[in-house]
């Protein structure tokens, strides 16, 4: 590689000393990059090893040591026995709460976002731009500013402390981003397509269903991953609008870690943290490309 760049410059290859220097520089670069990889991996490594140790070993051993004796007790306890307050059922019920909250929340906000995006991109009307700007701005508000009235409204409609209430909140405040994603994607589809379909007698929904939806797989994947990560990882709405029975997993994890009763079980805490992080981590590893695309689209464009 070094040789290639040298000849590319069209100049004479430098002396042997310079070549060795370049090679050393390259090794230094790799060493530095790997060092940073260690920095990012260390917390995950420590979490994993701690979760596989016994409490006794945690107290006597070093933070970064591998477990002398691997035990999955902490994982079992984190899943079905750890206390989140007075309840001691582990993370399991809260894991399913999160699933029941995230799946409808993701599907609803994605579907509505697709329709909205389709309109903003292809069925422009007067005032659409202004409305789009207002919608975009909604993505940026600090949610603290809607927390109080939302709590009251959910109370009035009997949705306070329920999973449907959380689904509703996540759908509403997810719409800005999902609309943005689909709009930016559909804008690249030529208007002539819609015009031609209209001449052939196809209506609004027909065009969406038979032309746009089949083209939407990539952006749908990006949106679904984005929304899933947002909703699964949310803490603020979860802690503000849920009650003991409907808490999402992030709230339960925080309760386990900060529960003050009994002995501090670090191995259980770590196992619980990994369980809570596993679904999004899994999505990231399987579909990392789309995950990154969502992140960059969500930031560069909006």
């Amino acid at each position: 590689m070094t040789d290639a760049t040298l000849t590319q410059t069209g100049r004479e290859p430098r002396s042997a000393g310079a070549l060795i220097g370049r090679r050393l520089l390259r090794w230094g670069l790799y060493a530095l990059l790997c060092l940073f990889a260690l920095y990012y991996l260390l917390p995950l490594f420590v979490m994993l090893t701690t979760s596989l140790k016994s409490l006794e070993e945690i107290r006597t051993g070093s933070l970064v040591a591998l477990p002398r004796e691997v035990t999955f007790d902490a994982w079992g306890k984190a899943w079905s026995g750890a206390c989140t307050g007075i309840q001691c059922e582990g993370l399991r019920p809260f894991f399913w709460n999160s699933v029941m909250m995230a799946v409808p929340g993701v599907l609803l906000s994605t579907l509505i976002g697709a329709l909205n995006g389709y309109i903003f991109a292809q069925w422009r009307f007067r005032g659409a731009n202004l409305f789009f700007a207002f919608l975009l701005f909604g993505c940026f508000i600090p949610f603290q500013v809607v927390l109080l009235p939302m709590a009251r409204m959910l109370g009035i409609f009997g949705l306070a402390g329920t999973i449907p209430g959380l689904i509703f909140v996540h759908t509403i405040y997810g719409l800005g981003f999902t609309t943005l994603f689909f709009r930016n994607y559909y804008v690249t589809i030529p208007h002539e397509l819609v015009r031609a379909a209209k001449i052939d007698g196809a209506g609004f929904f027909r065009i969406f269903w038979s032309i746009f939806l089949p083209l939407s797989l990539p952006i749908a994947v990006v949106t679904i991953i984005w929304q899933f990560t947002q909703i699964w990882n949310d803490f603020l709405f979860g802690v503000s609008f849920s009650s003991a029975g409907s808490q999402p997993i992030t709230v339960a994890l925080n309760n386990i870690v900060n529960s003050t009763t009994g002995v501090k079980e670090y191995n259980v805490d770590m196992a619980a943290a990994i369980i809570a992080g596993l679904p999004t981590l899994f999505v990231y590893i399987v579909a990392g490309k789309y995950f990154i695309r969502g992140l960059t689209a969500g930031s560069v464009k909006g």
Binding site: L29, L63, L148
Partner: protein
Amino acid sequence: MTDWLSRHVPKIVLAPTFVAVLLFVYGFIAWTAWVSLTRSKLLPRYEIDGLIQYERLFASPRWDTALSNLFVFGALFIGISMILGLMLAIFLDQKIRIEGALRTIYLYPMALSMIVTGTAWKWILNPGLGIQAMVQGWGFESFTFDWLINPDMALYAIVMAAVWQASGFVMALFLAGLRSVDGEIIKAAQVDGIPTWRVYTAIIIPSMAPIFLSAFIVLAHLAIKSFDLVIALTGGGPGYATDLPATYMYAMAFSRGDLGQAASSAMIMMLVVFTIVVPYLYSELRAKND
């Protein structure tokens, strides 16, 4: 009739979103703004009573700490993440063979919940069994690393965890930016014998100005909203040492029962976001329409 309907279908489909945004974003902001001007305590009251809540807010030492924490935290978090992200992006851009794997490793923390991140770092930084104990165990008995329980340092522990979580994302943004710079210009510069570092400082980095802006906006936004990480890592403690506006607002709303203070602190948060985001959104949308 059907003609009218078919002409207005797009607007009808968009109407629920329109109503929802109007009500749940702007209506709710208006509600909060209104309540911030009243003497609401446990329950909202609607008689306007001037700026009394804001006066209380800025007279409160706890809010003072929270606000200055936000600026210290924000500056360090944004600054370090940007520098680290840019550095990693430039290094990764040197035709590194294992780039894909490294990129995956640098970015994975962004997929995690801040609560998970906080839990992990709380364990690593706890003085009794974490890094401090480990280094002491190596024979450096006097080594101390007690940021998490030291009121003067706890905020920096939060910066550390936040940088760990977000810097990989900044790297990804910058890397995408580096890749979009015109390769011909770089090649031409190399033909002219300009050293690589000069190519970066004089050509590539200046051409990435919009990406710097995007990264700044995203990070600033994350910093202002930071709530989960503080709750998981320090709970705002020791004392109020790591309180941020977000945790202050939450405490007032849900444990102190002081709606007036919660509303006014939320409005100040909103104002901070406003001053950062609106000029950005404005320029973005205008550029698109042109």
